[in-house]
Amino acid sequence: MDELALNILDIAYNSIRAKANDICIYINDSIKENVIDIEIEDDGCGMTNEEVGKVIDPFFTTRTTRKVGLGIPLFKQNAELTGGYLHIDSKKNCGTIVKTRFIKNHIDTPIMGDVIETMTTLIQADENIDYIFEYKTDDIHFIMNTKDMKDILGDVKITEPEVIIWLKDYMKEGLSQ
């Protein structure tokens, strides 16, 4: 995967599979601090300490369609290559937070890529999941909560193609303040 945004998409799917209702995605992309911090937090089914130890092993997966799970190991390796890290905090039946740091000016740090496409893809995946999306750089600070949008939309689903396209433009404006 050549964009951080694709890793974010992939890791957030773990939250969806963990039956999360709320998923927070926080990105701090700062030249001043020379870091890219990415945090993905959910209120899904969580993991025991033993399971947390296992998910960084590529040959551990909870799914049955294939025998390997590469999402977390790939992301962790990418982060560590730059001098950063990936930490997982999880509590059974409470939720999971995956915290990742990349050193921004390291040659192996991937580009951020299209975060907007990642967010619309996630929102489109399941109308029942709510997202808080927070994006910070040295110049901008954008926060979005899909709950606010659902309040206005009422019985119209946030996954309707028309809404998704509006969301794309809304985030585009927000991230280019």
């Binding site: 998409l9 294939r66 790939l74 496409e117 893809t121 509006w166």
Partner: protein, 122 residues
């Protein structure tokens, strides 16, 4: 400048359309595999292209996502189900092929044989 207020307009428009949709029922379900294998192979632009094309043409089609379909080397994989649940599986899809699938299969009911899994695996 976009504001949350715009959503009210979208809501009204979508409500009208929804009542229409109930009547003629969704004609197809189109499902994109979005696991690590799919994402790494380029499933995100495929999904987004399909969502945009379906919205543009206002097609009676439901766009869904799923996990790993089980043939990772053939990702991105797109499955089209008709009303009777007959499945067509398209493999190694990219944004360009996705546009063709919408234009031919979803709009004109023509299956694009050359992109189906049958061409690669029997």
């Amino acid at each position: 400048m976009k504001s949350l207020e715009d959503l009210k307009k979208i809501r009204e428009a979508a409500q009208n359309k929804m009542t229409m949709r109930m009547d003629d029922n969704q004609k197809y379900r189109i499902v994109v595999g979005m696991a690590t294998c799919g994402i790494a192979a380029g499933a995100r632009p495929v999904l987004n292209t399909i969502v945009e094309e379906v919205a543009k043409a206002k097609l009676p089609v439901t766009v869904l996502q799923t996990g790993c379909i089980g043939m990772c080397t053939l990702e991105p994989i797109v499955e089209v189900f008709d009303k009777d649940d007959n499945k067509t599986t398209y493999v190694l899809v990219d944004a360009k092929k996705a546009k063709e699938i919408v234009a031919h299969h979803l709009m004109r009911d023509e299956v694009l044989e050359e992109y189906t899994v049958g061409k690669y695996k029997k």
